[in-house]
């Protein structure tokens, strides 16, 4: 579109060209204003995190202050167990998702089982069942299985939570493996195993990375299950965040620092994975 627009623009008479240019600038300004407005709460969170507590709860809000790292220091002094639990639950469940999801996606795409559509829709249907509906019984099951307040429980549940998404996504990457490549490998006498490791994996591995990133985002941010099923031995970052809100006293700067620390890893991951984010979240429907 842009390539064909360029020669057209040079042929345009002066006034029209001016109108088009000011149009472009105008919409650009609108986009920038809206973008900044949308980003403002995040920016405010980060700014507040650098305030001394006394400067965080003032009227009018203060925009000039001498920044301090005191609140960050405080956050880092207490986050140890929480960040460890979050990291284990996130990485553990993501690995498990890939181990289960890659073969499943293969069986639903490259050499599909007979009722692959039903299989695919079964997985997605589990995303529609509200897990909140089963939270009481889930608590009782965890209690009886001695899994309450254990990191294993979170790994198990986060895997189930992310698996449907991952299968849909990985499947869409596998569908892109050229048929000729599979054919060539077959003529070479490659079995199923070699087909996966030598033909499919190299093609889909960038896709697996973006799948993993999306699983990481959802597992890292999860609160409901962690809040209901863990206390201390497996409490995660979102729970640390809640614990940073005390019943009394000034806490806004501290809260903002904790919120910044908790959010930044995923924000950075998301910025890097922007392009594959849509694809993952649309379960491969959009390329």
């Amino acid at each position: 579109m842009s390539a064909s627009a360029v020669p057209a623009r040079t042929r345009m008479p002066g006034p029209q060209r001016f109108r088009e240019m000011s149009n472009t600038v105008g919409w650009g300004v609108v986009a920038w204003v809206l973008g900044i407005a949308f980003f403002l709460p995040v920016l405010w969170m980060v700014i507040t995190a650098f305030k001394p507590e006394s400067a965080a709860e003032t009227w009018p809000p203060r925009f000039t202050f001498s920044p301090t790292l005191a609140e960050f220091r405080l956050v880092f002094s207490g986050w140890g167990p929480y960040v460890t639990h979050s990291a284990i639950a996130t990485i553990g469940s993501t690995i498990l998702v890939l181990l289960l999801g890659v073969p499943a996606a293969y069986a639903l795409s490259v050499h599909p089982v007979k009722r692959w559509r039903d299989g695919l829709f079964f997985f997605i249907s589990t995303k529609m069942l509200p897990i909140v509906a089963a939270i009481g019984p889930l608590y009782v099951i965890a209690l009886k299985a001695h899994l309450l307040d254990s990191i294993w429980l979170l790994i198990i549940l986060y895997t189930a939570m992310n698996l449907p998404l991952a299968i849909w996504m990985i499947r869409s990457f596998m569908l892109e493996v050229p048929g000729e490549m599979l054919e060539a490998a077959r003529l070479d006498g490659a079995g199923r195993f070699r087909e996966i490791t030598e033909v499919i994996m190299p093609v889909v591995s960038p896709g697996l990375v973006s799948t993993a990133l999306i699983c990481v985002i959802f597992a890292w941010n999860e609160l409901f299950l962690a809040l209901n099923l863990t206390v201390t031995n497996a409490a995660t970052m979102p729970m640390y965040l809640i614990s940073s809100v005390p019943q009394e006293g000034l806490y806004i700067a501290h809260l903002s620092a904790a919120a910044t620390v908790a959010s930044v890893p995923v924000i950075i991951v998301g910025w890097i994975a922007q392009r594959s984010l849509v694809r993952g979240l649309s379960m491969g429907a959009i390329k």
Partner: protein
Amino acid sequence: MAVVDTSTVLVPEAGVGPRGASRREAWQRRLPLLPALIYTIVVTQIPFLVTLWYSFQNYFFDLPAPAHFTGLSNYKTVFTDAAFRSALWRSVLMTVSAVILAMILGLAFAMLLDRKFIGRSVVRTLIITPFLVMPAAAALVWAGPMLDPNFGLLNYLLQPFGVHHVAWLSTHALGSVIVVMIWQWTPFMTLIVLAGLQSQPADALEAAKVDGAGAMATFRELTLPHLRPYIELGILLGSIYLVNVFDAVRLMTNGGPGTSTTNLPFYLYQQVNNAFDIGGAAAAGVVTVILTIIVATFALRMFARVFQFEGASS
């Protein structure tokens, strides 16, 4: 309990794989699927079966008495409980309004981002960021630094418009929660619609321009029909996630004031955590799941249709 029966929705697939494939071949195909399938059935379906079981039991886990059968009494309680009905209604209201408004905003943002301007990728990055913020962090930052009546940034920014120290979370609790839901999900809608816009064939738009079609007409006649599956997909996926919103309710308003922001997830959470009523929560859960299945059946139908365009392009 599961929404497994999609066979009515989908045309049975004919002619997959070589004809007359042996039983061994069929198992070879099935084998890689089994671990994920069994895992998902065990982890996601068993809790719902147990929920069904407990929904017929009287069981408070703060009491020493063991669970015992009480027939339909839990269901009777659920259906006569005004709190359950209002939570159900509020869930619908919150989900529908948040999804629709996020989609409208997302459409607008996507149209803007589809234009060329300086720093476009920076603006896109700014716009997707709310989606990446940990929902618990978003809820707490909105509740405190943003919406606080005494030092919140929003009141300060709205001062020129005659707004003075509004206690948003007590006077406009439901609206505030919905605003945060919209803020977090607009980026997702934007990205999906943007993907749709960018997949629009340029020559069709050029042709419309040459034919002298106005911007509005082009949008209505060409762009909107093209975007339809993308919009449907965004609404579908947004609903799946937004109907389960818990963090914002728990951390911004704790369901209040009164029960004015209590949605179903928060109601069920309270049943378990405050009332210790496993049986009652289970019955409410079963009713929720049945309602979900009814809605999901339509959603799956929509899914099957939406994902046609995936099949067509590959």
